[in-house]
Each structure stands twice: as structure tokens, then as C-alpha cells.
Amino acid sequence: MTPPSNNDPFVRDLLGRGDYAIFSEIVAPQTCVLDLGCGDGELLSWLADNKDVDARGVEMDGAKVQKAIAKGVSCYQGNIEECLADYPDHAFDYVILSQTLQEVRHPLQVLNDMLRVGRRALVAFPNFGHWRVRLGHLLTGRAPKTIRFPHDWFDSPNIHFFTIDDFEILAAREEWHIEKRVFLDGNREVKLMPNLLAETAVYLVRRNS
């Protein structure tokens, strides 16, 4: 794994991404991984090279799919929400969804599908409960805009604005078993009051049965 960028033991970094670093720690060698919204296949290609995983991806953007396949990633060009239905139950050891849950039309459906086709789901999402988002909203009275979320409300890919607490409540309601949760501010791990202090949450989830 790429060493931390400084001596801070709480800094997580793989390919410039904190959530990737957490994924790479969690994913066991020689497993089968599906990455939803895999982009140009950066993470999958790292996992294939370093953990010998059977790496599969789904991506909408043709230019990114082309790059992913050129990297040797088995990438399927298609829509995340439509493609999951095709896969058989428990086809994968892990299904990864990174920074995309807030963009899909039906997040609960996607999460349930992930937990059907995979033994475990690895989800990273932006926490809209972060203090900067709250403060911006409170002070300006406008749709929150931060460095992490620079989009104007009218051209934002984000259509669901949920928080870490929201996710925990949903997980409890659906009776999912959360095996691991890691919170990040930038690439630095957050231990206290994550719903207020973390920008990103990473969850390892499986069904309770």
C-alpha cells in the first residue's frame, strides 16, 4: 500500500483518496470485487495488481470505460441502478460504491441490490451533516456549497443530502450488520462526533443472516 503522505498515523491515502485507502485495507486478497461507478478503473486496477482480486466494474461514461478496459479492468458500460438486477445472488465478495450513493435515484434499492449480489457492501459517501455544510446553510440560508461540494444546486449531481446519522438509522431499520465504519475529514481519520466532523463516511455492511 502507498505509505501515508506524512507521519500522522490517522492520515489515509491511496491514489490520493482516503476512502480508497480504507477499501484497500478491508478487501481481502484473491476475492471477487465489483466497483459500481468505477470511473477509469484506478481502484480496481490497484486491487488487481496488489491483492490479486478478480476485479469487475460498472461505469456509465464511455470515455472512462475505455480507459478502464485499456487498464485491463473488466468494465461494463451501463447504469448502476439498471445493471445490478442481472447479477446472480452473492456473485461477489465485495460490492463497492464510492461517493455515488447521493447521486442515484433509489439509494435503498441500490443498497439492497448490493447486499444481494455481494456478500458485503463497501459504501463511501459524503456526509452532509458536516459542520461546514451546516454552517453554510445556516449563515447564507442557501443550498450548501463547500470546497468538497462546489456545485450550484441547479447543476449538482447530488440528489440526496443525507448524513452519517441518517445512514445509521437506515441500517438499523433494515437490520443490516455494520462490520466496520471509518470516518474521514479530508484524508484524516475522525474518531469523535463524526456526524459533525467527518466529510466522508466509509461503511462495511452485510445482511444480518
Binding site: G62, V65, Q66, A70, G72, S74, C75, Y76, C83, F92
Partner: protein
């Protein structure tokens, strides 16, 4: 890279229709070098009107191969690494046994007494060729259009003999529309009085019919956009006809010099009859045994072999969680895109083959 067509003769080939052809000749070319453990061989399969001359400069005709931009040193199918084989299909007219060949039983040309052939028959003959070259397992099978149908047939019938498959701009079965266009071509040939029930060899060829058939074909290979850009409504002042008319007439007449009308009838029929899932419950069931890694490619403007047909294959594979990469490449060139869009295809084919090679070497 100067290449020559070679030929092999096999004692017999049993056809799907029950008839046995004996003997059978296959014309083929090879590029690159077969490695010591015979693990770097790729079979490339040509489309309807292609031939064994896929790459390099032909020693006799001085012409470039039909996929020369994709096959060669450093290209998508890199001949510095891989041993690439291409053969003329059964029923063809470019060196492999077809309706224009002599029937050894009668000493006369087969013409319309040639038995009905299938994509399966073509592939079985290719399998004989591959075996005779000492290759047990192919690193990959690749091809577009009818070549793609053969790729799918290979993967379905010989799952243990192909490590990977690259079907491009193709389908698991022809739609009514695809059959319809082929039928127009066949009827154009048979309506030509010079066709003479197929017995035109040594006499006047059914050139007008074959040319019309080819003209229809060319329309289906292009897209509305590519035709608008290439021809628009421009006219040839000297002839008083539209550019597009002039182009189609030229392509039609050119085709007559290199293609046999009866081969046209037999090969288009083989394409129409092809149904990968025939006699099986589903496409998924057909490909179930396959450990083959797939790279499926389609093109946005290809209305002759639309993306939904490729996606049907992809879905069938994903239903069993088989290893399949799929991309719909953006192109304005219609069905011709698989011959034209070299850069994108080269990049993904290279990456894909590299991964397949790693997988094969690990075992």
C-alpha cells in the same frame, strides 16, 4: 510486412445439414510468431465479404489487409507478441471450398448443388485448421459482424479452447430487418438473367444483380450522418448523377470482380440461419460452461447491428457472473465503424489481451 496466402486440405468436413464435404480446402494467412508453448495464438475472423488477407501487404495483389490498421507490430493485435491467424470462411470464394469449387464426385463446379452451410460449419473448419497448426487453446478469437457471430459460436461450442473472445458489432441471431436486407441482395442476384440458376461459371457473370446486392449492403454499413457528410446532395457534373449514386455504382461494380454471386447466396443464408441459442433454453444456458473472458464492443451509430444485440450477449454472461467487459463506442460511421475506429479499439483490445495473457500465464 509482406504476406502470402497459404492453404491446407482436410480429408472431410461433416456439415450441420448432414452432408459431408470431402475434401475441404482452407485458405489462411498468419502474422507474427507462435511461441514455444503455443499460448499466444489469436484467430481473427472476417466479415461477410472479407477474406484471409487480414493484415500486411499481399505478395500477389500488393493490397493491404482488411484489418491491417488493427493487426501488426505495436497495433491492437500486436504481432510482436501474438500469433494471429485469419482464414477464408467455408462457402467463400477466396481460396476456401465454396460453391465455386469443383465437386470431386462429379468433376464439375458445385454451383447451387453446394450444400447449405452454417456459421457452425465455418467454425468447425477453423477448429480443424487451428488443430493442424498445433494449437490446443487460442488466446483469443476476434471479429466483427459475421466474424463476431463466429466468435460467439467458438465461445459456445469450444469453451475450453478459447481463453478470451472479442465479438464486435455483432448479434447472437439475425433480426427480421437483417434477414430482410440479405434477402433483397439474394433476390437481386437471382433476378439477373445471367445468374442462370447459378450455372454462370465460365460464361457471363450475374454482375448487375451482384452489384445491386452490394449497393444495398453498402447503404446498411453506413449511417445517415456519415452519408450526409461524405456525399450530401453533391452531384457529379460530368455524369449528371448524385455523388452517392456514383459511389454505390463504383462499389457495386468493383465487388463483381472479387466476389462470387453464389457465395453471396450461401454465406448470407448462413448468417440468417445463425441462432446461438437455437435448441437451448436461453443464451445464458448456451454460454454457461464458458470460462472465456469476453470483450464485447458495439457502436452508437450502427443501426444494422444495433447495440441492443450485443447487450443481449452481455446480459446473458452477466447473469452467470462471467467475466465480460462491454463498451458502446461513440462513432458516426455506422456498421463500418468496426473497420474504421482504430484508435479506440486498439487501446481497449491491447489492455484486454494483456490481462488475458497474464491470466493464462498464471495457471
Amino acid at each position: 510486412m509482406v504476406v502470402s496466402t497459404q492453404s491446407k486440405r482436410f480429408a472431410s468436413l461433416e456439415l450441420d445439414c448432414g452432408v459431408t464435404l470431402a475434401p475441404v480446402d482452407v485458405a489462411y494467412q498468419t502474422y507474427g510468431t507462435l511461441n514455444a508453448d503455443c499460448s499466444n495464438a489469436i484467430l481473427v475472423m472476417h466479415a461477410f465479404s472479407g477474406d484471409a488477407h487480414a493484415a500486411g501487404i499481399d505478395a500477389q495483389t500488393q493490397q493491404k489487409g482488411w484489418w491491417d490498421s488493427m493487426i501488426g507490430p505495436g497495433r491492437g493485435f500486436d504481432t510482436d507478441q501474438y500469433f494471429v491467424i485469419c482464414s477464408n470462411v467455408l462457402g467463400g470464394c477466396r481460396g476456401t471450398t465454396g460453391p465455386g469449387s469443383i465437386n470431386p464426385a462429379t468433376g464439375e463446379i458445385f454451383a447451387m448443388t453446394f450444400p447449405v452451410i452454417t456459421i457452425g460449419d465455418m467454425v468447425r473448419l477453423q477448429a480443424k485448421l487451428i488443430e493442424s497448426l498445433g494449437i490446443e487453446k487460442l488466446l483469443s478469437v476476434a471479429g466483427g459482424s459475421m466474424g463476431g457471430m463466429q466468435v460467439l459460436e467458438w465461445a459456445a461450442r469450444y469453451p475450453d479452447r478459447v481463453a478470451s473472445a472479442i465479438p464486435i458489432a455483432t448479434t447472437p441471431r439475425h433480426s427480421a430487418q437483417q434477414i430482410a436486407f440479405n434477402e433483397v441482395g439474394r433476390q437481386a442476384i437471382m433476378a439477373d438473367p445471367d445468374w442462370s440458376d447459378g450455372n454462370y461459371y465460365g460464361g457471363k457473370l450475374p454482375g448487375r444483380g451482384l452489384a445491386v446486392a452490394r449497393m444495398v449492403g453498402h447503404i446498411t454499413y453506413m449511417s445517415d450522418e456519415s452519408m450526409r457528410q461524405k456525399f450530401g446532395r453533391r452531384q457529379r457534373e460530368d455524369q449528371g448523377i448524385f455523388e452517392v449514386e456514383s459511389y454505390l455504382r463504383y462499389r457495386g461494380s468493383q465487388f463483381v470482380d472479387r466476389f462470387d454471386a453464389n457465395s453471396y447466396l450461401y454465406i448470407t443464408k448462413a448468417m440468417d440461419l445463425f441462432d446461438l441459442a437455437a435448441g437451448q433454453q436461453s443464451l445464458t444456458a448456451v454460454l454457461e460452461r464458458s470460462k472465456t473472458k469476453f470483450l464485447v464492443i458495439s457502436f452508437t451509430s450502427d443501426w444494422l447491428y444495433p447495440s441492443y444485440q450485443s447487450q443481449e450477449v452481455v446480459s446473458a454472461l452477466r447473469r452467470r457472473n462471467q467475466d465480460v467487459a462491454y463498451i458502446e463506442l461513440t462513432s458516426k460511421y455506422g456498421h463500418d465503424a468496426f473497420l474504421v475506429e482504430v484508435e479506440e479499439q486498439s487501446e481497449i483490445v491491447k489492455g484486454f489481451l494483456l490481462r488475458v495473457t497474464k491470466g493464462v500465464n498464471r495457471r
